[in-house]
């Protein structure tokens, strides 16, 4: 394989991994605090729609991003209300959010723009354009390093760098701050947190709001960074793949980066090659498409280490009287 091909593959990996990574970290915050969230998909979709719609209306992608985050946080709060206050089943609430987002986005898009459930084409400042890092053009011809810097590192939308920066930030918040310690504790033993006089409800709400913000950025990246409009169901199951990545990563931020990059790399391979010849075997593209799921099942079955979810995950906290 040529060197440039590898660089292009990695470049594509980074683009595909970004929405996964953001959604995966979103799920990480929520699930570490004991709130299972299969509504990542729906939140991303709602954010993708509202960010594209508002970016079109205002002409500013940043206001669009804020609106997208707003939509996603609103759905997060709904999930919080159902699963924290009303102690509902978190899985059912998540599924409901996915359905709500899938239907509502198309309904509003049709009502506002009359383009059949899609938003109008964005251009100029209403989109996240790829940014060129300094010296990308001048260093382009340097062997090895030049193409890596020019093709791979430079030339992405700013949200890609934001997503990458979120990984150390998440690690720092979760493992090096008092807030992070309490957040993790509330997902393992909420009764202990409560005994210490800290509000379980507040902490869990904080976690779902952070989850909403990250999902919002992921959705906005899809519709205003990768694409220039919202189309129906445009998340195409990325929220569920992010959940798979979260399990694959065993609920840890750096592992999440690894898992999302691996899944992104599989996407890149699948888009670049139709069928892969490997040591005399022809590997059909469908196999590569299924690999993220196969890997997740393998992990869940306990073949490669064990993935143990937060102990209090999925269970509403009921204060003892």
């Amino acid at each position: 394989m040529e060197f440039l091909t590898i660089v292009q593959l990695l470049d594509s990996t980074l683009r595909s991994a970004t929405p996964l990574l953001l959604a995966c970290l979103a799920g990480l915050f929520s699930e570490r605090a004991g709130i299972f969230d299969i509504g990542l998909e729906g939140k991303m979709l709602a954010a993708a729609f509202l960010s594209a719609a508002v970016a079109f209306a205002t002409g500013s992608v940043w206001i669009g991003l804020l609106a997208g985050i707003g939509a996603s946080v609103a759905l997060s709060l709904l999930h919080g209300l159902a699963s924290i206050n009303f102690r509902g089943n978190q899985l059912i609430s998540g599924v409901a959010i996915n359905f709500l987002a899938a239907g509502a986005t198309v309904l509003f898009a049709q009502n506002w723009f009359r383009q059949g459930g899609r938003t109008p084409q964005l251009s100029g400042d209403a989109r996240f354009d790829p940014i060129s890092l300094p010296f990308a053009e001048t260093l382009q011809d340097v062997p090895i390093f030049g193409p890596i810097y020019h093709e791979l590192i430079s030339g992405h939308a700013i949200l890609v760098y934001v997503a990458l920066f979120m990984v150390p930030l998440t690690w720092w918040v979760l493992f090096r701050t008092r807030f992070g310690l309490r957040l993790r504790a509330v997902g393992e033993a909420p009764e202990a947190v409560d005994t210490a006089g800290i509000s379980v409800v507040h902490l869990r709400y904080a976690a779902v709001i952070i989850c909403g913000i990250l999902c919002g950025i992921a959705g906005a990246y899809l519709s205003t960074g990768l694409q220039a409009n919202f189309t129906k169901d445009m998340t195409a199951n990325r929220g569920f793949i992010a959940l798979a990545a979260l399990i694959f990563a065993k609920w840890r931020p750096w592992y999440a980066l690894g898992a999302c990059l691996l899944f992104g790399f599989l996407f890149a391979i699948e888009t670049r090659f139709q069928n892969i010849d490997l040591l005399g075997f022809t590997l059909p593209v469908q196999f590569v498409q299924a690999l993220p799921y196969i890997l997740t099942v393998v992990i869940l079955a306990g073949f490669v280490g064990r993935a143990i979810p937060p102990r209090a995950g999925g269970a509403p906290y009921i204060k003892e009287r």
Partner: protein, 334 residues
């Protein structure tokens, strides 16, 4: 009481038959959705034309899941809609299941195929997409500087391979050394609605040297056309005329006159002739689009070559291989 019931039953039957006499046509869109700017939207446009031309009205429904197919067919047939027009190859099995139960209703499947011997009240309308794709393939090869052109299909089904195969034959007819890169978006119906993946596939093809990309992928194609415009290469639209979507970047669109098929089926009403109808270049069922948005991209030379090829295909001098006849393509591997 029984007498009363009989009376009521008789009135109801009378009302139903009366309804059937002035039957409205119905239209069922496939999962891509009514406004996919492509295949289903063409069907909608045809129905709109029918409504405007005749002052009549029609009913339509957008399917949301596989399970609704048979249900929608039965609902429309029971309401006395006639004919019931459907889009998409996936409707053929549900129609075959339902057709015998409603012998007075005419069903139309566009892109699907139902055995006319077993189901005399079904019209299967097929298009010779390979012929239209051949023409746009020639244009793509003539417009390409790199000698490499791309094809992006939606769901990997024989119908889409027919597009790809015709396209590749057209490309090779102009430039025997040209490379055709072919990718399919996926193997599930969500492949019709993944513009993000369409973009990624386009970028992958560009990095392999493609400078014209043909998208036969429903809603996924919107991402393909967008990325082609962003990266300053040419694209080819499909089904509806998509030239306006990215002016100056869409070389042409392979037209599939689903609108004409729907219009004619609805206009015929209950007297619709059933059987199998194949619409090719000769019937103007397929073709390529030329309008103010792509006028600057299509040279006179290109137009002359394509029109000559069109005439040769109609007269039979050029035979374009149809992928679905033997599930293989002489110029392209899948």
């Amino acid at each position: 009481m029984t007498l009363m019931q009989k009376f009521l039953g008789a009135t109801a039957t009378l009302a139903l038959t009366a309804g059937a006499a002035f039957a409205e046509p119905a239209l069922i869109y496939d999962l891509g959705g009514k406004f996919d700017k492509s295949f289903n939207e063409a069907a909608f446009n045809g129905a709109q034309q029918f409504a405007e031309a005749t002052g009549g009205s029609f009913r339509d429904i957008e399917l949301q899941s596989e399970a609704q197919r048979e249900q929608a067919l039965r609902r429309f047939a029971e309401r006395g809609m006639n004919p019931v027009v459907t889009t998409g190859f996936s409707m053929s099995t549900p129609i075959a299941n339902v057709a015998a139960d409603y012998p007075d209703t005419k069903f139309v499947t566009i892109d699907g195929f139902v055995d006319p011997g077993a189901h005399p009240n079904v019209l299967s309308i097929l298009f010779s997409e390979h012929e239209g794709s051949y023409l746009v393939g020639m244009m793509a090869a003539m417009a390409s500087d790199s000698g490499t052109v791309g094809f992006i299909g939606g769901m990997d089904i024989p119908l889409i391979r027919r597009f790809a195969c015709g396209y590749a034959q057209g490309v090779k007819a102009v430039n025997g050394d040209a490379t055709v890169i072919s990718n399919m978006t996926g193997t599930t119906p969500s492949a019709w609605n993944d513009p993000v993946k369409g973009s990624e596939l386009t970028l992958a093809q560009i990095s392999q040297g493609a400078d014209v990309v043909y998208a036969a992928a429903g809603g996924t194609g919107i991402g393909v056309l967008q990325t082609a415009a962003d990266q300053n290469i040419l694209s080819v639209g499909v089904d509806s005329n998509q030239n306006y979507m990215q002016p100056g970047s869409v070389l042409t669109s392979m037209l599939k006159r689903v609108d004409v098929a729907v219009f004619e089926s609805m206009s015929a009403g209950a007297d619709l002739e059933t059987g199998v109808k194949v619409l090719g270049l000769a019937e103007e069922g397929v073709g390529y689009s030329l309008d103010e948005y792509n006028a600057s991209l299509v040279s006179d030379e290109m137009k002359a070559a394509v029109d000559a090829a069109r005439a040769s295909i109609i007269s039979g001098d050029i035979a374009v291989h149809n992928y679905t006849t033997d599930d293989s393509c002489p110029v392209l591997d899948f």
